[in-house]
Every structure is written in C-alpha cells, then in structure tokens.
C-alpha cells in the first residue's frame, strides 16, 4: 500500500472517527460528526445533525478551506475541512449548546484544532507503519542475497542450490510458487525444482519456459507478465495462472533454463521483484557453470589417468583392462562397506593407479610366460614402492598413495614392501589388494587359465585372516557379480583383445 493510499484512508477509518467523536463529546459536550466533501456522512454519527443546513455549511467549509461557524437558534454549529496535500479528505462538524457565560465559538475552534491534530497523528502513524513495512521487505531481500553467498559451495549439488533459491525466493517475494528449470547439457541436467504449488501441472514447466523465452527480445534480461490470461498459450496452461516473473538462466552453449516466480495476490510484479529474481539467477548461473567446469576438469583428470594406466597395462596382454577392473571393483567394495562418497571415489582412483609402478618393471619380466625367478620376483615387488614415488609428485592423488604402496600387504604381516599387519594396513589398500587378487584369479595367465568363480571364492575364504580382511571379503561377496562382469565387459572389451 502506498503512503498516499494509507494517508487517504486513515482519516476515514470508521472506528477511529467514532472513537474521536465519542471522546470529544465526553470531554467537552461538543457533538462531532464527519462528512465526505460531497456531504455524505462518514462513520456512525447518530447524533449528528444531517440536514440541508449542515450540508450547506459543510460545502462552504470545503470551498473556503477553513473553519466556519454559525449560530442556529440555541446552538452553535461549526464545520472545518481536513486536508492532505491540498485536497479535502473530509469535513468535520461540531455542534454545541449556547450556554450563558460559556464561549462556544472558542470551544468549537479548540475542538477543531484538537481533532485535526489527532487525525494528523494517525496519518503520521500510518506513514511510519508503511515505512516499517517497506524497510522490513528490504531487509528480507538483503538477507536473501546475503544468505545465498553463505550457501554457495562448488561441491554442492545443483539441485540443492536450486531448492534453496526457490524456497527462499518464494518466501521473500511472497508468491504462490517459485520454480527453476535447466535443460540437459554436458555434465548437467535436466533439473527442475518447484517451491510451493504451480497453478498448472509441473510437467508443463519446461514448455512454459520455452514459450516465454521464445518471445524474449535481444536485450531483454527479465520477463514480467502481470496478465497471463491475455496470452492464449499461458491461459491454456491454466486459468489460475495470473502473473509471473521469469529470468533466463543462460548457459555457455547459448541455451537457457530459467527461474520463475508465479502468482501473487495483491501487488503486481514490478522491477524490484524482477531485479531480485535476476540477482538470484545470476548467482545460480555462475554456480552452475563453475560446477560444470569442475566436473569437466574432474573427468579430464580421470581420462588422463586412465590413458596413462592402460598404456602400462597394455604392455602385458594378459593384464589389459586389469586396472580399470580393479578400480571398478574397489569402488563397488567401498560402496558396499558404506564409505562416504568421497572415499568411494578414492577407492576407484586407487584401483586405477595401483599398478602404475610397473612402469619401472623391465618388459621382459612383465611379459615372461613362465614362473618368475626369485630375483625377477624381487624386481616385480618393487612396483608398489615405485608407484608411491610416482604419486608423490601429484598432490591431487595424495590420499591414495598409501593404498598404492601397500596393496600387496597381507593381514598377517607377511606381505610387502613393509610387512604391515592388520589394522596398520590402510583400508583402501586392503580393498584394492582384494580386488587385485580377485581379478588376477579370474583372468587368464600364461601359467594358468582363469579360475572358475566358485574356486576363486573358496580360495579367498581360505585366506581370510591371513591375507584378507574379513569385512572387505564380506563386502565383495555381497556384490552382484553378474552386474560387475557386465560393467567389465563394457569398459574394457573395446581396449583389449581377450588373450587365448
């Protein structure tokens, strides 16, 4: 409500006027009544003289713009206008008996002044309240923007961020719904979030967005539609769709999603609303693109690692795809163990690079078909240590270094390179070690063909407590082998020709 509206309203609040009239009468004996400039009565004033003479006096006071008083027989009647910004808002009349010795005209004038002052105070209070309302709203908007700054984290899922934005936005501008939509692009989407209730089927949101964006001018950054029913398409979505604010969320390919605020009873949408939505959308767009960049870089890192690792694996046709399989298995075991998402990720990476040290193993030993001589075995057993030294230089892979160095340790301490025992062996190393052994047994080797699954299981069970950690073995057992083999086939078949 604008200040003008409130100020115009305040003096004609029936309750206030009735109270004023009653208080004045009790204090002074003066009967007060209120009229609109056209002469019609305001508020309940049963004792007010409502006759032609009074109407004339009211009109005179309005015209003259000042206090008028006249005597009528045994009474004095006065009328005075209450004006705001040069316009007469109402005319008050006062009536009092003429009593010998009293000074009725002076009394009426004093009452007039007092009533004007009281009405002015009321108007001032109303104005102050309106200011407080406006200030409160500004505070909410500022808090909304500050709050977003606190919540943005690159590792946060896009969906969560959009939910935060829609929920807070809806509360701050007071709409029935606030929604976000992003199309499917590289590394993202589609995403749809709705806070509150849309006046149409939520499935239709992408079409609404497409329709509105279609009509977007070249320089236009916000769309405000206060009369949706005048648009046939929007009216077709729902007769309950009244008004909306939409801001396109532009992605780097040139496509756009959008943030939309829908329906608010009372005040139409204007630039303050649009600017707020636009501000939220900008923040969201930057966040989304950053997240995609992060995703891109992460994928690049993984692809580079895979390329490097498969070049090492490929030196020995029997181990082609081995690292990828160990990675997949380690990841599944980690997930099965209920590890945090980040640790599951580390398990995958650890599995991927666990044999990277084999780059330091001479090819003639790597490719040897028969059993290894003791000195040759010693050379091979250097690969975990070499792998660790290679990874020393890569800060990003620091958390998995230990897993690489210790993936050939055994629970009973008879492993290598350090003979670590039990809990001293990092969990990731125990996981990768098991996955490694499993893949070795289920692959063809020059000195033996791949072992049947049942045999492998029994062999592993046999070595629980000595070589393997029972919890890790249990996790492996719980994995769906069929699905795992399918994943292997998908990921490694293309790169490798199966050895006979």
């Amino acid at each position: 409500m604008t200040v003008t509206e409130l100020t115009a309203r305040a003096p004609v609040d029936g309750e206030v006027l009735a109270r004023l009239a009653s208080e004045t009468f009790q204090a002074t004996g003066v009967r007060v009544a209120f009229f609109r400039p056209d002469g019609s009565a305001l508020g309940a004033a049963p004792t007010a003289p409502n006759d032609a003479a009074t109407a004339r006096l009211v009109a005179e006071a309005d015209l003259a713009g000042e206090f008028q008083v006249e005597r009528r027989g045994g009474r004095f009647v006065a009328a005075w206008p209450v004006r705001r910004r040069g316009r007469t808002v109402l005319v008050a009349t006062g009536e009092v008996e003429a009593v010998a010795g009293a000074r009725p005209q002076a009394l009426l004038a004093a009452v007039a002044r007092s009533i004007c002052a009281e009405l002015d105070r009321g108007a001032a209070r109303a104005e102050s309240e309106a200011s407080a309302e406006a200030l409160a709203q500004s505070f909410e908007e500022i808090s909304l923007l500050h709050g977003l700054g606190k919540v943005l984290r690159v590792t946060q899922p896009v969906h969560e961020l959009l939910e935060h934005i829609c929920t807070e936005l809806r509360e701050t501008i007071g709409t029935e719904a606030a929604a976000a939509w992003l199309p499917r692009v590289e590394g993202l989407g589609p995403e749809q979030v709705v806070a509150g209730r849309l006046p149409f089927d939520a499935d239709l949101l992408p079409r609404l967005v497409a329709h509105v964006l279609d009509g977007l001018g070249p320089e236009q950054s916000v769309v405000i539609i206060n009369h949706c029913q005048e648009d046939p398409f929007l009216a077709g979505l729902s007769i309950a769709l009244e008004r909306l604010v939409l801001v396109p969320l532009s992605l780097r390919e040139g496509v756009s999603g959008a943030l939309v605020a829908v329906n608010r009873s009372g005040v139409e949408f204007g630039s303050p609303d649009a600017k707020l939505v636009r501000s939220m959308t900008s923040s969201a767009a930057v966040f989304v693109e950053n997240r995609r960049l992060y995703h891109d870089l992460h994928q690049l890192m993984l692809d580079l690692v895979r390329a490097l690792v498969s070049s090492i694996d490929a030196k020995d046709p029997y181990t082609c795809g081995h690292s990828e399989r160990v990675a997949i298995m380690s990841r599944d075991i980690a997930r099965q163990l209920g590890l945090a998402e980040q640790d599951v990720e580390w398990a995958y990476l650890a599995g991927l690079v666990h044999d990277i040290g084999k780059i330091g193993t001479p090819e003639h030993i790597l490719r040897k078909e028969g059993r290894l001589e003791p000195e040759e075995r010693q050379v091979v057993q250097r690969h975990p240590g070499i792998g660790g030294r290679i990874l020393e230089g890569i800060t990003r892979l620091e958390p998995i270094r230990d897993a690489v160095v210790h993936h050939h340790e055994r629970l009973d301490g008879s492993g290598y390179p350090d003979g670590l025992k039990g809990e001293a062996i990092p969990l990731l190393a125990r996981i990768v070690g098991l996955a490694d052994a499993f893949d070795a047994m289920t692959s063809n080797r020059p000195y033996r063909p791949m072992l049947p699954l049942e045999h492998v299981r029994r062999e592993i069970e046999r070595n629980v407590g000595t070589q393997f950690d029972v919890r890790v073995v249990d996790a492996l057992s719980a994995i769906d082998m069929g699905r795992l083999m399918h994943q292997f086939a998908e990921r490694t078949a293309a790169a490798c020709t199966a050895p006979a």
């Binding site: 407080a132 200030l135 808090s143």
Partner: protein, 125 residues
C-alpha cells in the same frame, strides 16, 4: 496471554520494523530508544523477552542484560540484534541469558522465528 516483548534500539526505523513484525504476530511490544529507557521499562514491566541492539546511548545492550540479571535476579531471555554480531565472543555473553545473536541486516522473518523459538523454550522451562 500475549507474550510481552521489550524492543530496544536507538535507530527508530529498526525498532519499528521489529515491533511491527512482532505485533503482527500477536505479541505486545514496548519500544525503548535508549539503554536507560530500556532498563527502566524492563524493570517496571518484566517483559517475557528482550530484543536489543548492542550500541545504545545511556547503556549498552550487554550492560542492560547484565544489570537486569544481577539486579532483578531473574533471567529474561534476550536476543541481541547488532552490527557487532561477528565480533562478539562467547566470553562476552557468558552467564547472561542471551539466547541468540543476530547480525544486521537481518531477516525480519527469521527474527520472528527466533523470538518464537526462544519463547517456546522459556515456556517449556
């Protein structure tokens, strides 16, 4: 019975915003525009909760709470609403019935929620 709140802030617009928000939620609100007035009103009215700024003429918000607690012997739950929100340490409000420190600019919605929460707790006790 409507909860009675004392709002103290030397910036009248802010006090008005807080008062308006709380009154719209059905609470009785008394506004004081300086520390001394706040202290006197609190002593006289024994409000259910105090929302106060920190820096006020006459008496700071912290002093206000400290003196009321020491002299009245009762602990009136207090929300500090202040631009110094990030600088206050746990030390400065230790042993005082300060249930929350809200930094300016604040969300009136959140302030209302905090007041209601604090009152809820007080009632439960």
């Amino acid at each position: 019975m409507a909860p009675r709140i004392l709002v103290a802030d030397d910036e009248a617009p802010i006090a008005n915003v807080v008062a308006m928000k709380l009154r719209n939620a059905g609470m009785e609100v008394v506004v004081a525009l300086d520390g001394v007035e706040a202290y006197e009103r609190a002593r006289a009215d024994r409000p259910d909760l105090i929302v106060t700024d920190l820096q006020m003429p006459g008496m700071s918000g912290l002093e206000l709470v400290a003196r009321l607690t020491a002299e009245l012997g009762i602990r009136i739950p207090t929300l500090l609403l202040t631009a110094k929100g990030f600088e206050l340490t746990g030390e400065s409000v230790r042993d005082l019935p300060v249930c929350r420190i809200i930094s300016k600019p604040f969300s009136p919605r959140e302030l209302l929620a905090s007041v209601q929460e604090a009152l809820g707790l007080a009632v439960a006790k």
